[in-house]
Symmetry: C2
Subunit: 141 residues, 2 copies
Amino acid sequence: MTEDWRVRLRASGYRLTPQRELILGAVERLGHATPDEVHDEVRKHSSAVNLSTVYRTLEVLEELGLIRHTHLSDRAPTYHSNTGHEHFHLVCRNCKEVISVDPGVVLPLVAQLREEHGFTADIGHLTVFGHCANCKEPETC
Amino acid sequence: MTEDWRVRLRASGYRLTPQRELILGAVERLGHATPDEVHDEVRKHSSAVNLSTVYRTLEVLEELGLIRHTHLSDRAPTYHSNTGHEHFHLVCRNCKEVISVDPGVVLPLVAQLREEHGFTADIGHLTVFGHCANCKEPETC
DNA sequence: TTCCATGCAAACACTTTGCACCGTG
DNA sequence: CACGGTGCAAAGTGTTTGCATGGAA
């Protein structure tokens, strides 16, 4: 939304480069994407950016809190913009669908973990695996 | 506990080999372990087993439901025996401590996800990242 | 004796790193 | 014009696969 990420970058001593702008834009456009998908998306909308630059930039953007990552598969991590509301993910083992869920549902759990274990849960990183409504039968997986 | 895993193996058309026995034993001894740690543990207690055999065996044992895996770090998966009670994990981002938690805490969440999203959550695979009681301050990370 | 399982080595997928050059501030 | 950022290539992890040999049933 706002463009204060430019300010944040500079305030943290980072430089504003076209690559960083392109990569942040790609992440926001894609919703959920692996480093490789971000790489492809950037290439699709403009000139190519090196893959290692994608990795380095995703790290920087995450450090600044502009994006976050979770693990929606056993393989590569997926990044998503942090400008929207915080949420966590449900992933269907069968059809791989990803459902974003409002954190309200887990607040009781978070509270209980804090009380009973003194543990502060990081909801944004949370991913719950299972089976979606269309793939209820574990047999079909 | 019981040794019916031998029966299960055979019933599923698999053969009972010393390697499979060693690897299952290692997983049970270790509690939570990556494929590499299992490999080391086997080697420590007997003659070596090939790493690729470890991977193939862990896959078989998981398919039989004898072990399970979760992701306790951004890197390698960790396997654990499934003979004990079902549980899920809390992982501290700072000190990497792993806390096993009774699934009772998440039953309300599971129920709500089923009601509102028709989603059947897989608790055994669940891992919640955050900060433990000793590392409450995100600053220290 | 029949196949499944293993060992070995090579291939893979993903990520990180060293270094010279480039371009922001 | 200094120093952080980028591209490139090579190396590093973690995992999978093809194939010949070995061993459980």
